[in-house]
Amino acid sequence: MDILREDTIAAIATPFGTGGTGKIRISGPDAYEIGDQIFRSVQQGKKLKDSESYTAHYGFIYDPEAEKKIDEVVAIMMRKPRSFTGENVLEFDCHGGMTPLRAVLELVLANGARLAEPGEFSQRAFLNGRIDLAQAEAIIDIINSKTEKSLDIAVEQLSGKLSQRVDEIKEVAVEVLAHLEAAIDYPEDEIEGFSPENLDDKFNYIKEEIEKLLISSRQGKIYKEGLKTVIVGKPNVGKSSLLNYFLEEKRAIVTDIPGTTRDVIEEYVNLKGIPLKIIDTAGIRETADKVEKIGVERTRKSAEKADLVLFMLDISQGLTEEDLEIYKLIKEKPLIVIVNKTDLPAQVDKNKIEHEFKEHSLLWISLLEEEGLEELRQKILNEILDEELSGDDNVIITKSRHKNALLKAKKAIERVIVSRETSMPYDFLTIDLKDCLNALGEITGETVADDIIDRIFNDFCLGK
């Protein structure tokens, strides 16, 4: 019957690198027995397994076999269920530096613990009911976060901000539902504070709030997965040089021969906290060259999926048929037109270019002279960030699971509004309103859907 009775896991719980102190966390049924094998309190004979929860003990880590002192530590006890994981937890505060930390960890592992998988502490916390699903997912995100900004979002989600926002919306829905139910179940009573007008206000409020969160999911996706930015332009306009500028190193091969960049190159660039996934493409050009033709098609495909297209022109070549062909492919996308090589003599009237691309942001730069590049960074940021939503207080949706739940909730509340418009009796409002509540509950994990098993097994790689 002991299938899910966990073994004891351990890991270094502080960031990789050198710091003032470092922490080893041990969690599981044998945490204190393992601890007692290697920890000697300065109080003679004091055993961790006999110590109270929430106590700290000063002492040393010994290698029992070599009878060798490894490090001076403080041991901290957190007994189940009042610990982060809900299990018996022991933490050793060691001296910083990876070498002693690793040595202590190795001893812990040698004495019966297993090295924790990434996210396993939070997985246990979730399974033991210490955190809700949204919080558990946030921890996974923190582990996988690509930039500081996405880390911030994950941290906010962990602190329950997303759950809090969802709860605020739910609160309104529950209040309306309670009024409706009371009116239905007590037909002969007068229900106070209940009028059809404020009913409609509430429904619209719920819809708007859900929509706000949904809008933020576009940003959330950007923060988490990066803004897919594709650099396009005919051969030899400076696409690879632009990528190299962002990367601050020479990665793509830069030559004067058109079509040098045959494959699509993908790189992550950190632009003020936002991961920019830059895709450098082969020049789009009708060509007989087989290899390059594939490159062209890839470019078209990349541009199709892009969140933002950087369209490069070469002022020294003028505005050519090729440029306009490429423009046709991409003009429906969010677009920044970059005119490069302003250091060279212009072969085309600036006004003509401005007129041609007047619907888009336009920028004059010289990669050689590094001119206009700071402005370019700013323009990219402006393209992404809706000012209204970029404030720190806002919750940003990063999980597709959350987004799907919000979409479900939105559809449900829209059906409620339609029912109101067609004057359906109260009872019919409650059906879709409950659907809306359940969908919102999926985000915080309050609604236990039957597919939760699959989700948990997928997200947390259980059942090893």
Partner: protein, 636 residues
């Protein structure tokens, strides 16, 4: 104590002949089992000690479900009631609720006659004092007069009789409802068997004399034509009795506030927990000080009595305060109270002691139903009564128990709530307790439950045939409406008719079904466009209209039921040792071990079990089942 064994041995003994007891007795007797019904007082069989009415949203649904299963309550009401109306008509078909005013004496007399004339049923006046239990199984009961009645199954339907205690202000005395003799010893016998008991409280308002009322100061509340509770009855005919609406005044509230410390509720004399949804007037005034007035319905207690019931004025204030308070109400200035209102405390069983078939977990063959399980209301009691009666009989036949699902019946919701969640206060059914309300309508109770009643053996041929013909009628009409050959074309004539019916124009041919979706059109209206439209009865037409007009909503609710069903079908093995489940919080483990849910769905409804616990439980079961599969494979 010396006792004498009664020569006849029974299959089932029912203790109590209130609303739960009557249904619990009739079901096994009608299924062919020798049944004995014991009551404290034969003049109180199916007595209504509180309101003289049945129904309302949720409650009426239960009455109709009892009817569909083959129970007696609906028919008994139809035969004896003096007024009926439909509440909630503007809020959707699922929450319509019949409300009937009963003639208490007539209701009692007819039901007593039904029991007296029922084959296999003996009705006796006896006070049960002791349960006889051997090796965890019920063997019978011993009465106050020293008779041992042996039985294979016993059903307790004791209402508020167990250690009943009445409180009227400072006056307190041991009594059952309506000052009957209480059952002082039986709950002690339960306690000896290790059953956990609780103490609940309920109350009733004063009854007043008709001669002392001035109805001209109140709003009349008349009945309606064409309604009945049972699917088998004719609508109520003839002149109906009148009810009246009046309100409390500022002065009423002032009298209550000045005297509230003399009420046991505030002075602390009452230990029992009372219901929040049916509070006493003193409770309402104290809890909602801003509310300027409270509604009161003045209802007759019967056709041949002057007594009137003041619905909404339930109280345990001292008698003198009750008089002063009542006289502050418009139309009651000269009122003469015939019986004062009172609060009553009683012992009941913690419903977590029960299984979903209403058998006690600890005593095989012993069932409980009604207020003893922590519910309140005649309808809730009767709904449990018929379930306990049927399950006692099914068990004697070695058949699986009848457990109604939450997606199937309000009775299922009621019992699942009691057994799974327990109840901190007397439990009243409400439509909002049912998740799938739109499917659990009172108009389709027969369609939902007649097949189950038939399967059990309580639905006779006549009733079953009328159910079948209703189903066929609905199908035939729907087929016709959906038939492409019967489409309506936008001719000048059709347009003219639509305009006459205040319905929108038609631009292209549509099916009759599409036309019926228009809220302003009824089934019979379609006859103008389709002269061959099948002739169907009014109740069949109602079904057709609901199924067509609300199809989208019904489909969505059905999808919700599908989700629900998946969770109900995730079974929890009976042998599961919850103490081994260390990933669950201690509170959840204890709760689960006590309730022993049959499925993940049921587990998720236990209060004190969080969604995280459920996730952990599901993960455990997944691994448990996988390892079991591995074991099985390994054995081969």
């Amino acid at each position: 104590m010396d006792f004498h064994k009664y020569p006849k041995e029974y299959d089932v003994i029912v203790i109590g002949a209130g609303h739960a007891g009557c249904e619990a007795s009739l079901a096994p007797a009608r299924m062919g089992f020798e049944t004995l019904t014991l009551t404290v007082n034969l003049d109180h069989v199916a007595f209504m000690p509180c309101n003289p009415s049945l129904g309302g949203p949720g409650k009426a649904h239960i009455v109709r479900e009892i009817d569909a299963l083959g129970g007696e309550m609906a028919r008994n009401m139809d035969e004896t009631m003096i007024q009926i109306r439909m509440l909630n008509t503007s809020k959707g078909p699922a929450v319509h609720g019949l409300r009937g005013q009963s003639d208490k004496q007539a209701y009692h007399q007819r039901m007593k006659r039904i029991l007296e004339n029922q084959d296999n049923l003996d009705l006796k006046q006896q006070i049960a004092e002791k349960l006889v239990v051997e090796a965890g199984e019920i063997k019978g009961i011993i009465s106050k007069t020293g008779i041992f009645f042996a039985a294979k199954k016993v059903i307790l339907t004791t209402g508020t009789f167990l250690k009943g205690r009445i409180i009227i202000g400072e006056a307190k005395f041991n009594a059952g409802p309506n000052q009957q003799y209480p059952a002082n010893k039986l709950s002690g016998s339960l306690k000896e068997e290790g059953i956990s008991l609780r103490r609940f409280k309920t109350g009733t308002p004063p009854r007043v004399s008709k001669r002392s009322l001035d109805f001209s100061k109140m709003e009349p509340q008349p009945g309606e034509e064409g309604l009945s509770f049972s699917f088998q009855s004719e609508p109520l005919k003839g002149e109906q009795a009148m009810c009246y609406l009046t309100y409390t005044t500022e002065k009423t509230h002032q009298i209550i506030n000045e005297n509230k410390m003399r009420t046991p509720l505030f002075s602390g004399v009452i230990e029992g927990v009372g219901p929040r949804y049916c509070p006493s007037i003193e409770d309402k005034v104290v809890r909602f000080p801003d509310k300027g007035r409270h509604q009161l319905f003045i209802e007759p207690e019967g056709a041949h009595t002057d007594e009137y019931y003041i619905s909404g004025l339930s109280t345990s204030l001292p008698h003198d305060v009750q008089i002063e308070m009542a006289r502050s109400i418009p139309g009651l200035e000269e009122v003469e109270i015939m019986r004062p209102g009172y609060a009553i405390e009683y012992d009941c069983v913690d419903p977590e002691e029960l299984k979903l078939d209403l058998e006690l977990k600890k005593i095989k063959g012993l069932y409980t139903a009604g207020q003893i399980n922590g519910s309140s209301g005649y309808e809730e009691a009767a709904g449990q009564g018929i379930v306990a009666g049927i399950n006692a009989a099914l068990s004697l036949q070695n058949r699986e128990p009848m457990i109604l699902k939450r997606s199937e019946a309000y009775i299922g919701v009621l019992i699942d709530d009691l057994v799974t969640k327990g109840t901190p206060e007397p439990y009243r059914i409400m439509t909002s307790r049912a998740e799938y309300r739109l499917l659990l309508r009172q108009d389709n109770a027969d369609q939902r439950l007649t097949p189950i009643g038939r399967e059990v053996g309580l639905v006779d041929d006549k009733r079953y045939q009328s159910y079948q013909s209703k189903i066929k009628g609905v199908e035939k009409a729907l087929d016709y409406l959906r038939d492409e050959n019967n489409k309506v074309n936008p001719t000048a004539e059709v347009r003219e008719k639509l305009e006459e019916l205040e319905s929108g124009n038609l631009s292209k041919p549509v099916t009759l079904e599409a036309l019926l979706r228009r809220p302003e059109l009824s089934y019979e209206d379609l006859r103008y466009f389709a002269p061959d439209l099948p002739e169907i009865t009014k109740d069949v037409a109602e079904q057709v209209e609901i199924q067509v007009k609300y199809k989208g909503y019904i489909d969505r609710q059905q999808a919700q039921v599908e989700q629900f069903r998946k969770m109900e079908e995730k079974k929890i093995p009976e042998e599961l040792d919850y103490s081994q489940l260390e990933n669950l919080r201690l509170e959840a483990r204890e709760k689960l071990a006590r309730v022993r849910p049959l499925s993940i769905g049921q587990a998720s409804r236990i209060s004190g079990v969080s969604p995280a616990d459920i996730s952990a439980l599901m993960i455990y079961l997944e691994q448990y089942n996988r390892s079991k599969k591995d074991d099985e494979n390994g054995d081969k």
